[in-house]
């Protein structure tokens, strides 16, 4: 029997060869695997450096003398931008307030058309207007543009969002703080810190749970690149190797910069907040380079567990850890220990989620995305670091959201029967003169990024269609605001032979009424008669000219608004009225700029004449009467006295849709309320949407609708109910309306002054001067 030793000696060579071979194979496999890992990790590192989501900015606030702004309102806007109040002169992003005077230092900002440098400014706002705007040297500044609010990003499908910061934009103690808290040997190790791993293992074993992490910053960076959270040993070994490989390829500063921009720091709904730049906006509403010590320390504290240490949901835990971070920073002399102690005394300083400080406007951002998708691919939008200058006005957006939420709540509370589903609503606010969409609320749950009703809910517009009928009537030359039409039963034979018998909401026929009254009171019978007389094709053509995407079919029911239109399209339609017969395409984006600041695209203001301005003027004067005497008169209670507005209510058949579309001199708003499943709400335009509209318009600084009387028209006074020419001393409910010159009016019996008409002629010229 051979001994083991003998066998070994006999096969010694084969043994060693075998061993060498297997070692060789093993080594080659290992090498191959390492090369594979190397490729993955370097690709990720390089690749990620360039994927930047597009950032979207709101419209910048412009300041000028005479602007409607109180000192309180201005302070609120500065705070919305994340400016903080100081007592002595501060740096960019700070302001001082002494009564009506606010001194601030703006942040430098590269707009798409110019660079606005950082400078010190003084504003004095007495009452409700800016009285003076001066630079530090005491020079009057005619107009000044503040840095715009970052309202969101267009981030990729996997939901990561970041605001990239360069080393210069990092607070100088941030890298040191990260190292001292997370990875003390960062500067010397080669990717993996074995002693840290062993120590952590020892501590965790003794504690019976995971208490310490032994990962270096580099390992954490690698872990962040891979989205699955498999914490297997195999994965950990892979990560260790990749960390070492990264260290071979890249400098420590590069790795740290990547870490600062990559590390996951919080969740905002569908959006994953990555990097300190975005975290700074998300938690504090201001840029990273403006953070103070205690704020930076909080972010460093969050790194260890953004959910566990979420400062909004677990403020106590977050505070404890933040103070620990500060203590370490003091111990390791990153900052003076006394400073650290002072910082620990400060509150967390988190801004609330929602509309204050970098809110999230899903309906509006949806519109921005759709606008840009026409010109840009998804990858460009989500990776190329584009900067998008939008038209959103955060203040008006805020007011629109509040108005809708409050009114819907009030309406539901007032209902006797509790319905299973909730009322839904939309608000679209535009500046009609330049077509900019300044606010958009897509649903009752304003922060919810779901079905965007403003763009996608095509609903029956009801009486909103009527101004188009009346416009077509006036353009035909056969009608004016005082023409008498018959609000009486009408029967229409439809194409299929059936008879259509529309009726008024009051179920009554009013008889002969002047045009202005028929429109103001939204009389269905009169409007159908008018539309049939003008000719259905003329009405549908008018709607198309005014901006409706598709010309409606030749159904008489179109005359009562049985045509499905989205709220944004309604806004486009009414823009033609608000602009006196000129249409301008609604837009949500002003300009797009690339990462280096080069302008890529600007959306130019365009106007197109779509209807005779003289005819539109006459209709607009009637729409003013809607608000004075007609279905919109309840709005008066919420509006500043003397504010002139024009508008139209809309109610679809069976009370399924409640609409209101109306405009002032500077704003236009369209409101819709209804149920998603189209069941009747029992609300008319006046009893539902009007309240949202008037609440909104009453809460923003807006100007009266005013337009000069065109040549060829004259002002006349008539009785609203009968259409007779009258005067305030002689006549009931006398209103002022515009009609073509030379129109003869029957005078109210008993009031024959006769001078009224020729007087009207002379007065017209006089008034033209006064109106402006």
């Amino acid at each position: 029997m051979p001994t083991f030793k003998a066998t070994f000696r006999k096969y010694r060579r084969q043994f060693w060869v075998g061993l060498a071979l297997s070692c060789g194979v093993g080594l080659i496999t290992l090498l191959g695997w390492l090369i594979y890992l190397d490729r993955i990790v370097t690709q990720q590192f390089e690749g990620r450096r360039w994927t930047l989501p597009a950032q979207v900015y709101a419209e910048p606030l412009e300041l000028y003398v005479g602007q409607s702004f109180s000192a309180d309102a201005l302070e609120q806007e500065l705070r919305r931008l994340g400016y903080h109040r100081v007592d002595a002169a501060g740096g960019p992003g700070s302001y001082r307030r002494r009564g009506t005077r606010i001194d601030f230092v703006n942040r430098q900002f590269q707009f798409w058309d110019a660079l606005q440098e950082s400078q010190a400014l003084s504003v004095i706002a007495r009452g409700n207007a800016i009285e003076s705007l001066q630079s530090a040297g005491g020079e009057d500044v005619p107009i000044f543009r503040l840095d715009p609010l970052l309202i969101g990003s267009i981030f990729p499908i996997h939901g990561e969002d970041r605001v990239v910061v360069t080393p210069e934009q990092m607070p100088q103690f941030l890298p040191a703080a990260l190292k001292v808290v997370e990875d003390r040997k960062f500067d010397t190790h080669h990717g993996v810190n074995f002693t840290a791993i062993l120590r952590a293992a020892w501590v965790n074993m003794r504690a019976g749970q995971i208490e310490q992490g032994g990962s270096t910053l580099t390992q954490q960076l690698v872990k962040s690149y891979f989205l699955d959270n498999r914490r297997t040993l195999g994965r950990k070994i892979e990560e260790a190797f990749m960390a070492m490989l990264l260290e071979v390829h890249f400098e420590k500063t590069d790795l740290l910069n990547a870490y600062v921009n990559e590390i996951y720091l919080g969740q905002d709904g569908r959006r994953a907040v990555h990097g300190f730049g975005l975290a700074s906006q998300f938690y504090f509403g201001k840029p990273l380079d403006e953070l103070q010590l205690h704020e930076v320390a909080l972010l460093v504290a969050i790194v260890r567990g953004p959910s566990y240490y979420d400062p909004r949901r677990h403020p106590d835990r977050a505070r404890v850890r933040r103070d620990l971070v500060l203590k370490l920073m003091g111990e390791f002399k990153i900052v003076d220990p006394k400073t650290a102690a002072q910082a620990a005394a400060k509150p967390l300083g988190i801004v609330g989620t929602g509309t204050s400080g970098g809110g999230y406007y899903p309906a509006f951002l949806d519109l921005v995305r759709r606008t840009l998708r026409r010109d840009y691919r998804e990858e460009d939008l989500t990776e190329a670091g584009l900067r998008i200058f939008s038209t959103l006005n955060p203040l008006v957006q805020n007011r629109a959201e509040n108005a809708l939420e409050q009114e819907l709540a009030r309406l539901e509370k007032a209902r006797k029967t509790k319905k299973a589903q909730k009322l839904e609503g939309v608000v679209v606010v535009t500046a009609p003169q330049n077509g900019e969409v300044i606010a958009m609320v897509g649903g009752r749950d304003v922060g919810f990024d779901g079905f965007n009703r403003a763009l996608d809910a095509k609903r029956s517009i009801g009486s909103l269609v009527k101004p188009a009928i009346y416009l077509a009537a006036i353009e035909s030359g056969r009608y004016n605001a005082t023409s008498i039409i018959d609000d009486s039963e009408v029967e229409v034979k439809l194409a299929d032979g059936k008879l259509w018998r529309p009726h008024n909401y009051t179920e009554e026929a009013t008889g002969p009424v002047p045009l202005v009254r028929a429109l103001s009171q939204s009389l269905n019978l009169a409007s159908v008669r008018l539309g049939l007389d003008v000719g259905l094709p003329n009405v549908t053509k008018e709607l198309k000219s005014l901006g409706l995407e598709n010309e409606p079919p030749q159904n008489p029911s179109v005359l009562l608004g049985s045509v499905d239109v989205s709220p944004l399209e309604v806004a486009q339609l009414y823009t033609a009225f608000a602009n006196g017969g000129f249409s301008t395409p609604l837009r949500a984006v002003r300009a797009v700029v690339d990462t280096s600041g080069k302008p890529l695209k600007s959306f130019a203001l365009e106007v197109t004449p779509v209807a005779d301005p003289t005819a539109v003027y006459q209709v607009n004067r009637m729409l003013v009467q809607v608000m004075e005497r007609g279905t919109g008169r309840a709005a008066r209670a919420n509006l500043p006295s003397g504010l002139v507005v024009a508008g139209k209510s809309g109610t679809s058949s069976d009370y399924r849709d409640s609409w209101f579309a109306g405009f002032s001199g500077s704003h236009q708003a369209v409101v819709w309320i209804g149920y998603d499943d189209n069941s009747p709400t029992g609300l008319t335009g006046s009893s539902g949407s009007l309240a949202v509209w008037s609440r909104l318009m009453g809460s923003i600084a807006t100007t009266s609708f005013s337009s000069p009387l065109p040549e060829g028209l004259q002002d006349v006074s008539i009785e609203f109910m009968t259409g007779f020419a009258a005067s305030p001393e002689c006549g009931e409910e006398v209103i002022s309306i515009a009609v073509p010159q030379g129109v003869q009016l029957p005078v109210k019996p008993g009031c024959e002054t006769g001078t009224l008409q020729s007087v009207g002629e002379r007065a017209k010229e006089w008034l033209q001067g006064i109106i402006r």
């Binding site: 412009e62 003398v65 005067s727």
Partner: protein, 182 residues
């Protein structure tokens, strides 16, 4: 916005008084009964009193008083932006020039002069259709301002001419000159 509206109402009230028993329809406002006060002192307007119950012939036989002129002016903010735009225009930086004027338009959307300036940028860019449209938009807001109307017609004439529509250009130019003569 408050002060001009107040003086407008004051003038309107005075106008009502001047025409004693007659009512002067005021746009957008419920007509107020005439108080006893002074007739207005607007230059160029004529005041006439009429016996209340006597119906004169409907046809107007009296000459119209010369219209009151209210030429639009640029606010300080708008002026600064327009100056900036003109510099940018000279440098052929059309998009940026237009952006400056659009900023001014956000402050004063009803100012015909700004629409004319924006139209000039479009003209320089070669966008003649928009230049004409903006001229027309300016016209629609310059009812009592002959000089502004004249500038608008000039712009429209240039826009026609650039597209070879010489007849229309000539007509527009004549209107511009006629208005400037006043």
């Amino acid at each position: 916005m408050e002060a001009p509206m107040r003086s407008i109402s004051l003038l309107a009230v005075l106008a009502v008084a001047a025409l004693s028993a007659c009512t002067v329809p005021q746009p957008y406002r419920p007509v107020t009964p005439p108080p006893e006060s002074m007739p207005p002192t607007q230059p160029g307007s004529q005041t006439q009193t009429q016996p209340a119950q006597q119906p004169p012939p409907i046809e107007e036989s009296q000459p119209l008083p010369p219209p009151v002129v209210r030429e639009p002016v640029l606010s300080a903010a708008s002026r600064a932006l327009v100056n900036q735009a003109q510099t940018q225009l000279v440098a052929k930086n059309f998009a940026v020039a237009a952006a400056s004027i659009e900023r001014a338009l956000r402050i004063e959307p009803d100012n015909a002069l700004l629409w004319i300036e924006l139209g000039k940028v479009r003209q320089a860019e070669g966008n003649y259709v928009q230049a004409e449209n903006m001229g027309r938009k300016a016209l629609s807001m310059a009812a009592s301002a002959p000089r502004a109307q004249s500038a608008a017609w000039s712009l429209i004439a240039d826009a026609y001419r650039a597209r070879g529509k010489n007849n229309e250009a000539r007509d527009a130019q004549m209107r511009a000159e006629a208005l400037n003569g006043r």
